[in-house]
Symmetry: C2
Subunit: 204 residues, 2 copies
Amino acid sequence: MQFAKIQGKRWLLRFDRGQRIHVRDTKGTAWRIVSGSVRLDREEPNGEHSFANLAIRGDVIGAETLLFGKYGFTATALTACVLESWPEGHDSPVSDSLLRTLAKAERRAAEVIALRCGQAADRVRRLVMILAHSAVEQPTHAAAELQVTLPSRQDMADITALTLETVSRMVSQLRHAGVLAPLHHGRRLSQSNFAVRQTLGDTP
Amino acid sequence: MQFAKIQGKRWLLRFDRGQRIHVRDTKGTAWRIVSGSVRLDREEPNGEHSFANLAIRGDVIGAETLLFGKYGFTATALTACVLESWPEGHDSPVSDSLLRTLAKAERRAAEVIALRCGQAADRVRRLVMILAHSAVEQPTHAAAELQVTLPSRQDMADITALTLETVSRMVSQLRHAGVLAPLHHGRRLSQSNFAVRQTLGDTP
DNA sequence: CGATTCCTTGAGCAACCTCAAAAGCGGTGG
DNA sequence: CCACCGCTTTTGAGGTTGCTCAAGGAATCG
């Protein structure tokens, strides 16, 4: 279920984990991600739909609607997330904002492409890192503990091009290695949706 | 070596296979790819540089220079290619061209991401398909034979997240399966740089 | 308390990687 | 023309990582 809020002059939409945000070939507007993370899927030639891209805080999704009037991808919330409509009209030159969006999209694409090579453990660790960076407001360059909501194992598998089982094993391994905090049984948190990261600055 | 031609009012640059087009963090302008294919690389945290994206005919590379004044990626020619400067000044609304470029970049990213999952044989086949589509001028929707210059095995390996050896094996396999033409010994073509595709329309 | 869904863990196997050697191609120079 | 060199590609044999299949645990909801 999605709650629409008007705060100041911005439309804010909230989505829960796993919820569909928009569907390919339907009409709608573009959104900027205020918090949380989103997966984009495309339709394969064979009709299946498969992971196409990842979007996190600051990224714009659905920009193609400004050109074609329809979404080019299906978007689903990987974690609870908040979106605001884009572009914000008040911004001065549209081309500047667009250019910034383009540059960001290319960097994100490079990151996601990189997520799909190397050892399984490393891939999952890198994905967690990206999500962790997206969770923190300002880059506090100190080693800080912060809570990150992980996507479902299936979603993580789709992103890293691994299987659900391998991702699960690697998450366990990261926990054992101290990168992720052990499960909080006492506090009744969802079994594995919450994780605590410890060393944010560097990737050894 | 790069030849600059002025044809009409367009600057056309030509690059050979394997040649560096531009280097990350250096100054320069953006380019649209007129023909051929290009790989973009980014610098890893550890200093290595690794495959970040693929660009083919119609794609724009180096758009971020319009914003930051420097290239965000290093670009190298996968095959002989021709570039023209971008944006072409005469185009009416900049934002329209930019939007089109953004949409294209997102579709390309999705394609490259998809190139990195599934069986090795399929990945290589899909890469060849993409390069073949980029080689043909108009989408002739009939089954047509056309010549495609393949990138080096190492480049294909970097793109598909396989090893050089596996790519070589899969290319041999595709030849045996009739997707790629057998080597032309008679015509003195380079051993494996040229390939002929046969069924362009569909991907069974 | 079922029923459902998601996650975890195990065992065996196959696809792909690693290491290694040989062959093809292009260039240079005798 | 042939020999030689450097580079890329091809092909082979064996090892490992991650996949497949399967069963069991944990949380949520009625």
